[in-house]
């Protein structure tokens, strides 16, 4: 879409709602951007000459004679190397006081990757956190959210993962982020000396909520530029996708659409998928990996947002406070990385899958034993051993403050098996038992 030499200006608004206004205009294209009374807006509906505009900051104070300027192009972002180290708002304008970006202007929310041109993700992302690397290994080109309650330290864990992941470019898309969190990220990246490969698109809570809808597209358009043009390994952090979905529901509500589950729009699945599916391993080396945050209310994953997200993303990570060891752990039961099969036992030691599964199975036995204990039943000798195992497993491997190599995680696993269990109870393929078993002979 070329920018036109002259712009069409209208000054007669027919009607105004909370989020939209309608003008009569001609030659207007779908999804084109406009400025209404100085505020960014986008065409969302065309019926003959009647053009409905969604005004991102809201319509408060807009008069019927306000100036409407159509820009003749959909929302765009100027991309280039200068993006690195900069902070932007949802429209891609700098908010860090630096100069505007001079670069190629590209449409945001561009087309999807042809599925047959994608490569299968196969490169492991090591984070040092055993709850992730051992049990829920991350892979480039993956998309995975943290399902977390607002009181959990997901921002810290996500930042740790981002900084250890050895990505070429880290892009932060902040939606409805509190100013404090924004400053936390800024400070953390600064202190880590990582600012030169960080780009942030931030919509804080003091910005209008509907603006958030642009943030993921902005962040991912920048990500695509680096992943495709520079073959970079891009890590995109999106927080918080629940607030993104809330903005979707506000818009659909104001457009008089019939809500489906939990007052979310019927298109929620497609809307979220459009964002998450930008994660890809490109044929010539570049990749986009998305780590997102979906906040839950009271751990309820049946709510439409986490539910639809779960069907789109390749797994999810849960944090849980383990009172036994007084630390936050990555919950081994509910967390899942769907792409781990592509790397574990292949890019890592061949005993990885079995060690992982066995440890989780024994940890599940411990959970059963704990239930028994809570219900006042006697524990068997085996039950007691599983409880001891669980505590040490949790402290040595699941806690989020762990930072060790994957081989060390596996060795730790074998040590714990040997310390607490017999060979029969562990029941791993014989070839691995012969090689790694460190317990007693029977």
């Amino acid at each position: 879409m070329k920018t036109k030499a002259f712009q069409k200006i209208y000054t007669h608004i027919e009607n105004i709602t909370k989020a939209t206004c309608m003008v009569e205009a001609e030659g207007i294209t779908n999804e084109e951007m406009a400025i209404v009374d100085g505020r960014p807006a986008q065409v969302v509906k065309i019926v003959g000459k009647k053009i409905t505009l969604q005004i991102f900051p809201g319509t408060q104070g807009i008069a019927t004679d306000a100036e409407v300027v159509f820009l003749g192009r959909p929302p765009t972002l100027k991309v280039g190397n200068e993006l690195k180290g900069r902070f932007f708002n949802a429209y891609g304008d700098p908010i860090d006081g630096g100069p505007a970006i001079e670069g190629e202007e590209v449409e945001i929310g561009g087309p999807s990757v042809n599925p047959v041109r994608r490569k299968q993700p196969s490169e492991l992302i090591a984070t040092g956190i055993a709850g992730i690397d051992l049990n829920n290994t991350l892979v480039t080109g993956q998309k995975i959210p943290f399902f977390a309650d607002p009181d959990q330290p997901f921002n810290q864990v996500m930042a740790t993962v981002a900084l250890r992941a050895q990505a070429d470019v880290i892009i932060l898309g902040g939606m409805g982020m509190s100013n404090d969190d924004y400053l936390y990220y800024k400070m953390l990246f600064d202190n880590a000396g990582a600012l030169d490969h960080i780009i942030a698109f931030i919509n804080t809570t003091d910005n209008p909520p509907v603006e958030r809808l642009l943030v993921p597209d902005m962040a991912l358009t920048a990500a695509e530029y680096f992943a495709v043009n520079q073959k970079a390994k891009v890590l995109c952090l999106l927080t918080d996708m629940t607030l993104f979905a809330d903005a979707l529901s506000i818009v659909s509500n104001r457009m008089d659409q019939i809500p489906s589950k939990d007052s979310m729009p019927g298109s929620l699945y497609s809307d979220l998928a459009k964002v998450y599916e930008k994660a890809a391993q490109y044929p010539d080396g570049g990749s986009i990996t998305i780590i997102a945050v979906t906040t839950l209310s009271g751990g309820d994953i049946t709510h439409a947002v986490p539910d639809n997200t779960g069907y789109i993303t390749e797994g999810q990570l849960y944090l849980r406070r383990d009172t036994e060891i007084a630390k936050v752990i990555i919950d081994p039961f509910r967390s899942l990385s769907r792409l781990k099969q592509l790397v574990i036992g292949k890019k890592t030691r061949s005993d990885h899958p079995q060690v992982m599964n066995t440890a989780v199975r024994l940890y599940a036995d411990a959970a059963n034993a704990r239930t028994k204990l809570e219900n006042g039943f006697d524990l068997t000798e085996y039950d007691r051993r599983t409880l001891d195992f669980a505590k040490e497993y949790s402290r040595e491997l699941l806690a989020i403050d762990i930072n060790i190599e994957i081989d060390k995680m596996l060795d730790t696993g074998w040590q714990l098996f040997g310390k607490y269990f017999s060979k029969d109870e562990v029941s791993i393929k014989k070839e691995f038992m012969d090689k790694y078993w460190v317990g007693t002979a029977s």
Partner: protein, 595 residues
């Protein structure tokens, strides 16, 4: 002259076109946006306004864009060359698209018009034919691809001429037929067919009865599906739905697999694209990809095309079924298809049904499932489409509209359970909730008697009973405590655990365990039933778990070994020794050993 029109309204991908002539419901049109043609389907007509759903992004579209109507419904092109292809939901060949990103308005032909096929005629001049009759065959990969009389041919016709055996392209005339009124028609190797209309070029559709081996124990043994049967797999996310579907597509005993990736993750399709060309098909010794067609409309591809994709898959399946092939059609996931229906119904401002789904959802789903089935062809051959769809119930709640509608339509139900998945018991198919209606068919029971062993259906019921009793015992143990129940409860529970670990659980990532032939399943089932029929002596409940764990361990190791290899037999002997320690039957342990 074809009808033309002009765009007068746009809301997302619902576009209103004012037309200058007749239009039909579901007719296809192309909207011209600065030289880029956007394909769309008519979904509502009011007066001069046709409402069309556009199969692409409508960004940049404006009032006044011209549209041209094609006069036909959404169609697929059928002919040799579809095997191993990767299509999108509208049957565009994805491999022929050069760029990394999908370009709007880029449509690629489904079949290659230049390829020469070696045609062997199957009929002679003078023969009487009707729709679906075989007039010739070509080798498409390893299958005999039959060239058929077009399915739209009404009544019978006389063959006037047939070409000699030789190499032809799909558009060459290979036969001329004359209908009863003397009209001549040239036949080629290709035809077009509207996807939403069932192909009925067969004699009849009897009740299906042949078991379709899938290699998955939890399906074949406990709740078998038949050739031409229907089944569905609902389950919350993270329960292994897709892994199970992939396992089915790899190991099921069918001639042809059509996988419809409908609104699911792109990386899952990439997995198929990457693995299938490498994996060996145990039946043909060729690569798995050579018996596979993939229809791929991932979640980020346009929603309207997602709705079309399941129909595209079904129509291609029907085409191959009419050649007398066993087709397995898999759709992952039908919920995404239903959601596509919901999005359009919402934009058209229809009054919503439950959860904002369209009111006729149930009817649409039932109608789709009914297109599967086992058929007798006019020439006495048979063909079948077995359809297994997955459902992704919102919040894991099986009472939601898509699951409920599907439950009414499908005959097999493979419920994936969150509990099983949490404790890594894969495949997480719940043995108690799942069912196969086919086990009630007398013709299926008879078939099992003949092909597996007499009384097999009874043995399945015994297994199911043992599992149910084990679950009840487990509930009692949980309520009353380990020592609050009789010792026998622990034995009953552990027997069901034995069945669970050895039969139900299967390692999809292990080379041997990933697929189990029915013969081997039969062997293991008999072995387990014998063990479960035995009495064991224990002094206290603590001994029970440990003893059974040893047994499970041995049997699991057996599952990882080649059937009846030396290691397998060694483990079998070890198992017998273990059994002898505690068994109190007169029965000799040899009774459960491989001979």
């Amino acid at each position: 002259m074809s009808t033309k029109g002009k765009v007068v309204g746009i809301v997302a991908n619902l576009v209103t076109i004012e037309v200058d002539g007749p239009v039909a419901q579901n007719e296809i049109c192309y909207i011209d946006l600065g030289g880029v043609k956007l394909m769309a389907e008519v979904i509502k007509i009011t007066g001069k306004n046709a409402f069309v759903q556009v199969f692409e992004s409508t960004r940049g579209l404006h009032v006044g864009c011209e549209a041209e109507f094609t006069g036909h419904l959404l169609e697929v092109t059928l002919g040799p060359g579809m095997l191993s292809k990767n299509y999108d939901g509208l049957q565009n060949d994805l491999n022929k698209m050069e760029s990394v990103f999908l370009r709007r308005g880029e449509y690629t032909p489904a079949l290659d018009k230049d390829t020469k096929w070696r045609l062997v005629p199957l009929i002679k001049a003078g023969a009487t034919v009707r729709a679906g009759d075989w007039i010739g065959k070509v080798k498409e990969g390893w299958i005999d691809h039959k060239i058929m009389v077009p399915f739209d041919y009404a009544g019978t016709a006389t063959v006037k001429s047939v070409v000699a055996e030789g190499d032809y392209t799909i558009n060459d005339t290979i036969a001329v037929v004359t209908d009863n009124d003397g009209n001549e028609r040239n036949l080629t190797m290709t035809m077009r067919w509207p996807v939403k209309v069932e192909v009925k070029a067969h004699k009849n559709k009897p009740r299906p009865f042949k078991i379709l081996e899938t290699g998955q124990r939890t399906i074949d043994t406990l709740n078998p599906i038949v050739e031409g049967g229907t089944g569905f797999i609902p389950g919350p996310f993270g329960c292994g739905k897709t892994v199970l579907q992939h396992a089915l597509s790899k190991y099921a005993e069918s001639d042809l697999i059509i996988v419809v990736a409908c609104g699911e993750r792109a990386n899952e399709v990439v997995e198929i694209f990457t693995e299938f060309p490498e994996l060996d098909d145990p039946r043909t010794g060729r690569k798995l990809m050579e018996r596979t067609i993939i229809i791929c409309n991932t979640s980020n591809m346009p929603v309207a095309a997602r709705e079309a994709s399941v129909y595209t898959g079904m129509t291609i399946a029907e085409y191959y079924r009419t050649m007398g092939l066993k087709v397995l059609l898999l759709a992952d996931s039908t919920s995404r298809w239903a959601q596509a229906l919901r999005e359009m119904s919402n934009r058209m401002e229809e009054l919503p049904g439950p959860d904002a789904f369209p009111m006729d959802l149930s009817a649409i789903v039932a109608n789709f499932y009914s297109r599967a089935g086992f058929v007798n062809l006019n020439n006495g051959e048979t063909g079948s489409i077995t359809f297994i769809g997955t459902v992704s119930p919102a919040g894991g709640n099986l009472k939601e509209p898509v699951t409920e509608s599907t439950k009414k339509a499908a005959r097999c139900f493979y419920a994936l359970s969150q509990n099983r998945s949490d404790s890594k018991r894969y495949p997480a198919v719940d043995p108690i909730d799942s069912y196969s209606k086919y086990l009630e068919y007398p013709e299926v029971i008879e078939y099992l008697d003949k092909t597996v062993e007499p009384g097999w259906a009874d043995k399945i019921m015994q297994l199911k009973d043992a599992l149910l009793r084990g679950k009840e015992a487990h509930d009692q143990i949980n309520i009353l405590g380990d020592d609050g129940v009789p010792l026998e409860y622990h034995v009953t529970f552990n027997k069901s655990e034995l069945i669970d670990f050895v039969i139900l659980q299967q390692d999809a990532f292990d080379k041997v365990d990933a697929s189990t032939p029915l013969k081997r399943q039969q062997y293991m089932v008999n072995k387990l039933l014998t063990i479960c029929g035995n009495q064991f002596s224990f002094d206290n409940f603590e001994e029970v778990g440990g003893y059974f764990k040893k047994m499970i361990n041995l049997l699991k190791q057996m599952n990882f070994k080649e059937f009846l290899c030396d290691d397998f037999k060694g483990l079998d002997r070890e198992l017998d020794e273990l059994l002898a320690q505690r068994m109190v039957n007169e029965q000799e342990p040899q009774a459960v050993t491989a001979s």
